[in-house]
């Protein structure tokens, strides 16, 4: 079972390794981790996707809370989640017809071609987990050269 955890941390040097180290040390499985500044100065927000049952989630939350640099930890429930991930994909385009096919997919998925070369297209797209993996799966047969993903970020729809 996957859980999305949003945490606020003080912007101290080493805070990333503290958080990441905790997961390795306690044997928790991280799917992805994403960090960036939050609305408050000096405070960053991390989104962590962790795999495990209810008990794992409880321990993860409590252990994260114990880190001095961690200000708060929140598990965002699935029914209230809004999540996005950004990907950049470079695909091989050997012929014009293939290129056209790919561009069609880009349109369907509301993605964007951001760079064009003779034999490749670089595409940007964002969406939730399902959309991103669906898109990548359809691109795979064309010969994907490189995929870069930011890791998921998430926000609760409403603050109930």
């Amino acid at each position: 079972m996957k859980h999305t955890i949003a945490i606020l941390v003080e912007d101290q040097p080493g805070v990333m390794s503290r958080v990441a180290g905790l997961f390795t040390r306690r044997g928790f499985n991280i799917d992805s981790i994403a960090v960036g500044p939050s609305e408050a100065p000096g405070i960053s927000r991390m989104t962590i996707i962790v795999n495990g049952d209810h008990k794992v989630l409880e321990q993860v939350t409590k252990q994260l809370n114990k880190l001095i640099d961690v200000i708060c930890v929140r598990d965002i429930p699935v029914e209230n989640i809004l999540e996005r991930e950004l990907v950049l994909v470079k695909v091989h385009t050997e012929s014009l017809s293939v290129r056209a096919e790919i561009i069609q997919l880009v349109e369907i998925f509301k993605a964007k071609v951001v760079y064009v070369e003779r034999n490749t297209l670089t595409i940007e797209m964002s969406g939730d987990e399902e959309k991103v993996s669906g898109f990548l799966k359809l691109l795979a047969p064309f010969g994907v050269k490189e995929v870069v993903r930011t890791g998921r970020i998430a926000i609760a729809r409403s603050n109930k």
Binding site: V9, G14, S17, R25, K62, N65, L67
Partner: protein, 565 residues
């Protein structure tokens, strides 16, 4: 007023009322030691150990004996890495320490400079928190915070890394009055609704037992524990770390729980219908096979660390906070109770076990044996001593047989099981509590892991009595090999042991070799009267065991080395 970084550190130590520091200098921490050299009358004792592991264990022993924060100061690189075992030791046993490490100057950090290591990275998982002082301006608040975090909430070790230039630079000094960290707000008072539920459970229970852990000792809550136990007539078992939290000579005391625990304690916990767990983390050494751990009981768990609740066992009534405060709150809701039939049942288990052990003891046996040694210590000290142990069979014999009646009178490495802890920790304990008798019970294997600290103890004229239980073996491992490896004694014989009496004498101390049973008591008496550092090299048989014990994977009430009673 402008101060240098090192003057700020020393001011900080004064403000925190530090009375002793332990350490070894080196290039990267030279400015600090030089400033100490310039201060005429030092505001605290400065103890030079002979190894940094000795320094951190001494600070640890000091902290456990006094309840105050232990401090050590070492240089960068190897000085810092030599702290690793000691920090892990303190972390697992929740001991408040602040360790200062020298570091190469900030402009050289990251270049693999001479004696540079990333001690922050290395100690990340074994400290409660750690800091690099990047600017002299940050020092005062870092020191304030380090001490506050080490001693508050669930205590633990904190490390402060001090680049050399930060020690030398100057800035104005003001010691902060308060620490304010959004991410660190330990809660101390218990939730009243939960407390009432706990009180009801206690009233309704037919077979309640208290498990008292190390948290009772760190919270100084022995008085509260005693009041609660006496008001409700609930028997008390302690964990290894909880030894001393409840006097073992009290009728409600059942001794230590767990792998090498007391037979009665293990039986009673397995029969209980309610466990009141106080400041304990249900370590696998006390629960053994979790599936069979107290099968009939509901658990009330009181602990300062929310992460401990529900970590290993299912808890019915969780209560987060300072166990001292929560027990004070709880007692108001408790009714007096006699638990008559439960106590009668326990008494009969106790009597059966006493009869059994009495039968097994042979009064005519003439060898010097560990149990006899500890009986003599009981006769002589009557519990009025601080007992520091190393790790091995001698440790478990001590834990089981010494008559501990005061909190902080048993100092031993629990969570990490660190051989080599004993002697330096005894040094720290004696420096912290000079008015108390300090005994170090060690093994021939363990003592050699920090034997260089004989110099520290003897040079500083510390009247510690070392009882060396010399069995010529890494005895505890030998026991496992005997029981579970068909007697293949690989790498456990300590042939090549030195003459420990001569070694002690070589350092300027006094040593006695004790081989005969009848010699032990008179020599102990003489050693005590000498009021100086004395080592008793006690030669005991190699095949003495820690019995009874619970095998890995087994349930608590299924002990070997004892007949089913």
């Amino acid at each position: 007023m402008e101060l240098t970084g090192t003057e700020i550190i020393i001011e900080g130590l004064k403000q925190e009322k530090v009375k002793a520091i332990f350490g070894i200098p080196g290039a990267a921490i030279l400015p600090f030691y030089d400033t100490l050299g310039k201060v005429g009358q030092l505001p605290f004792k400065n103890i030079l150990t002979r190894h940094e592991q000795g320094a951190v264990h001494a600070a640890d022993g000091y902290a456990r004996a006094t309840g105050e924060v232990g401090v050590c100061v070492v240089t960068s690189g190897p000085g810092a890495t030599n702290l690793v075992t000691g920090l892990a030791n303190a972390y697992l046993d929740s001991v408040p320490l602040v360790a200062f490490t020298g570091q190469v100057p900030t402009d050289m950090v990251g270049n693999d400079a001479f004696q540079e290591v990333d001690i922050i990275g290395i100690t990340l998982p074994i400290t409660k928190n750690n800091y690099v002082a990047r600017k002299t301006e940050n020092l005062a608040s870092i020191i304030k915070e380090a001490f506050y975090i080490a001693r508050s909430g669930r205590p633990g070790p904190v490390l402060v890394d001090l680049p050399k230039d930060v020690q030398l630079d100057r800035c104005s000094f003001k010691y902060p009055e308060k620490v304010n960290r959004k991410g660190y707000q330990p809660s101390y008072r218990g939730n009243i609704r939960q407390i009432k539920i706990a009180a009801t459970k206690i009233r309704e229970a037919k077979k309640p037992v208290i498990i008292a852990g190390g948290g009772i000792i760190s919270a100084n809550a022995s008085g509260e524990l005693k009041k609660v136990a006496l008001k409700t007539n609930i028997p008390v078992v302690t964990t290894f770390m909880g030894i001393g939290s409840f006097p073992v000579n009290h009728p409600l005391s059942l001794g230590m729980l767990g792998m090498y625990g007391n037979y009665v304690a293990n039986q009673v916990v397995s029969e209980a219908d309610l466990i009141i767990a106080l400041g304990t983390r249900f370590d696998d050494r006390i629960t053994r096979n979790l599936k069979h751990f107290c099968p009939y009981a509901e658990i009330i768990h009181i602990d300062i660390d929310p992460a401990e609740i529900g970590k290993n066992v299912l808890v019915k009534v969780p209560l987060v906070g300072d166990v001292k405060i929560i027990l004070q709150q709880l007692i108001n809701y408790l009714e007096e109770k006699d638990n008559e039939s439960w106590l009668a049942e326990i008494t009969s288990i106790k009597e059966r076990y006493l009869k059994y052990t009495a039968q097994k003891e042979d009064p005519r046996q003439e060898k010097l044996k560990p149990k006899y040694i500890i009986d003599c210590l009981n006769d002589f000290f009557k519990g009025e001593a601080i007992v520091v142990t190393d790790v091995g069979q001698h440790q478990m014999w001590t834990a089981n047989h010494f008559q501990f009646i005061h909190p902080r009178s048993f100092i031993s490495s629990g969570g990490l099981g660190t051989m080599g802890f004993g002697l330096p920790a005894a040094i720290g304990a004696k420096i912290g509590c000079p008015e108390k008798a300090v005994i170090c019970i060690s093994g021939d294997g363990s003592l050699q892991m920090n034997i260089q600290e004989l110099a520290t103890a003897i040079y500083n004229r510390l009247p510690i009595i070392v009882i060396l239980m010399n069995n010529g073996y890494l005895g505890m491992v030998r026991q496992l090999q005997e029981l579970f490896c068909e007697g293949r004694y690989i790498s456990t014989s300590l042939s090549g042991n030195p003459d420990f009496v001569k070694v002690t004498e070589g350092y300027g101390g006094v040593g006695f070799r004790v081989e005969k049973k009848e010699d032990f008591y008179p020599i102990l008496k003489r050693a005590f009267q000498m009021n100086r550092f004395v080592l008793l090299d006690c030669h005991i048989p190699e095949d003495e065991k820690n019995f009874p014990m619970v095998q890995p994977g087994s349930s608590l009430n299924n002990m070997i080395g004892v007949d089913q009673l």
